[in-house]
Symmetry: C2
Subunit: 194 residues, 2 copies
DNA sequence: AGTCGAGTATACCGATCTGTATAGTGGACT
DNA sequence: AGTCCACTATACAGATCGGTATACTCGACT
């Protein structure tokens, strides 16, 4: 559980590789994975395609690194919010929704990158697949552990409801149906814990 | 509000056009919009590209018809469930989640087609954009009208919570994180209405 | 008989796709 | 001095992209 992704990073992050991955992450998220070619990534990063393929080997692997890297950052971001919330499990649940609200406002105007990537990946054998499902499973496990400390008799159902509110908030935020979806989810979570 | 989509259908649905749209719908949903080319759509439908472009004019328009058509079918599917539920607003809310569960199990193994399409469309000026946001806004309006009949003093918050549960259930179902997400959402909705 | 709409078949356009090849630069470490 | 590594530059391969063109068949309606 220390490593964020099921498939750990295999790529040596040389300076050019880092620039390429940052450019790819921005382009993939903003325009979609299939809509972005490797030539564009190379041009935006100020890197040649030769270097791209020397470091990553394939576009598929760039996609995997993109998602695994974003997953890693999210878990670190969330860990900081959980640490600041203290030991009370109710406060920690609310801290998750606070973290999601801040993350969505800053970095996810188009919704969850994992969900969006999943929409473009049809093959279940794609190496990015375990990264996507791994993060969601990890989030459900987190809610389950917190729910067990709050209401052991209904921990499973409570965790699933929190998960639905959490995913719903990310989608609603991405589509812009109503403002501050994370705050609505947090408020409903607070009511559930009372 | 009688017409499902903001942009009504302009395409005359000749037999070949119908076959092409059905093939496009299946391919777009399974593999993603950008991953499917017009040559493949034509081949799968047993239609020539000439016919495709005579009927639809552009791939972009095929995408719009795909989403508008699916939206139309969903609203008809939902209307049948609402009619069967009778006049009680609480029963009607639960009927929405029942319809979503049945729809997801049959036709949406990969989650909401609107959300998935939105992930691939970056340009807000894309003609498919109002179709996507239109459906979600319509769903929120539906929940709001039902919530006003149930708890007028907290209708807005209740409707938003139902919307979060609904969208969360579709995402959770699509990612397969836990089984029968629609049933979990329905159960939580039932608790909220008590 | 003549016309028209719908559809088929096939070839083509320029652009872009992922991925590879060859050749060379510059710095760090031994 | 020699070796390695990260990187740049450029050209290319083979396939596929969205979209267009020409020429044809067939059935329904007038």
């Amino acid at each position: 559980m220390g490593t964020p992704a099921e498939t750990p990073h295999r790529i040596v992050m040389t300076p050019a590789a880092r620039r390429a991955l940052d450019a790819a992450a921005r382009l993939f998220y903003e325009r979609g994975i299939h809509a972005v070619g490797v030539d564009l990534i190379a041009a935006e990063a100020g890197v040649t395609k030769k270097t791209l393929y020397d470091r990553f080997g394939s576009k598929e692997q760039i996609v995997v690194e993109y998602l695994a890297d974003r997953d890693e950052r999210w878990r670190e971001f969330l860990a900081r919010h959980l640490d600041a919330a203290g030991p009370d499990p109710r406060a920690r649940v609310l801290a998750v929704f606070d973290a999601t609200g801040a993350w969505a406002a800053d970095l996810s105007p188009k919704g969850c990158s994992m969900v969006n990537a999943h929409a473009e990946i049809s093959d279940p054998a794609h190496p990015a697949h375990p990264v996507i499902t791994g993060q969601k499973r990890w989030m459900l496990d987190l809610f389950t552990r917190l729910a067990e400390d709050i209401a052991p008799d209904r921990a499973g159902a409570l965790a699933r409801t929190l998960m639905l509110l959490h995913e719903g908030a990310l989608v609603a935020h991405g589509l812009g149906i109503f403002p501050d979806a994370a705050a609505s989810a947090r408020e409903q979570a607070r009511a559930l814990l009372a």
